[in-house]
């Protein structure tokens, strides 16, 4: 991959390309929300960013859950609880975004989605995905 300032912070990196690349896509969508909220003329439509985010959240979490199942990961259930928090958090805020009647409310909820996603990525990657990546490496998953 190329380097760019828009890249995910290095502290989010787990040195496991399969998972790192997918986290980077989530981070890129986070960055798109920030650009759209920053009033950048060329910003993408927030509704499109959020539908793309919902889709990719599900794609990524399903990928990790399948990897855990395939390798008999002992912490599957607790890891899934963390995933469900992301699904519920992003899904719930997205529903509020769609219901918002005023542009100001839409932007406020959009900011909440971005904040929620950033904090989730930061905490989940550091605490939960690090252990999973260690396990997947031991099982040579995806190699």
């Amino acid at each position: 991959m190329m380097d760019s300032q828009q890249n995910m912070p290095e502290t989010f990196r787990l040195d496991y390309p399969l998972i790192d690349v997918q986290h980077e896509v989530l981070f890129a969508l986070y960055h798109e929300v920030r650009l759209a909220l920053g009033g950048e003329e060329e910003g993408f439509d927030l509704g499109d960013i959020f539908s793309g985010l919902n889709l990719y959240v599900e794609t990524h979490l399903a990928f990790e859950e399948n990897a855990m199942l395939a390798t008999g990961y002992p912490q599957l259930d607790t890891h899934r609880v963390g995933h469900q928090a992301l699904r519920d958090g992003v899904g719930g805020l997205y529903a509020r975004f769609l219901r918002a009647s005023e542009p100001q409310e839409s932007r406020q909820v959009a900011g909440q989605i971005a904040d929620f996603l950033y904090v989730w990525l930061e905490e989940h990657i550091a605490r939960v995905d690090r252990d999973l990546c260690r396990h997947l490496k031991e099982h040579a998953f995806g190699e």
């Binding site: 190329m2 995910m8 499109d48 793309g52 889709l55």
Partner: protein, 98 residues
């Protein structure tokens, strides 16, 4: 113009640049806006040597703006390392890859 836009009769064809990343984001958005929902795309990766995560985000956004679930985006001619990157990101499940 880093991007080349044409049509093959069925699809809008976007020939992507050597460095497909944040630097061409505005151009990519402009080139792909103004087409109605339901427009089919062919993204030609033959010149692409490197791409960044912002480019992966752009691909997902094009998928949404062109119809989401019913979108029809065909990726052609990626070199081996680019194909590998797209597969790592699981994009082969979201896009058609030739």
């Amino acid at each position: 113009m880093a991007l080349n836009i044409s049509t093959d009769g069925e699809r809008v064809v976007v020939r992507l640049p050597k460095l497909f990343g944040f630097a061409v984001r505005s151009e990519f958005k402009q080139a792909t806006s103004g087409h109605p929902v339901g427009t089919k795309y062919k993204l030609d990766f033959q010149d692409v040597e490197r791409m960044d995560s912002s480019a992966l985000g752009m691909l997902l956004l094009l998928r949404e703006t062109s119809g989401g679930l019913s979108s029809d985006i065909l990726i052609v001619n990626p070199r081996t390392e680019i194909r590998k990157l797209l597969q790592l990101a699981n994009f082969h499940t979201l896009f058609k890859m030739a």
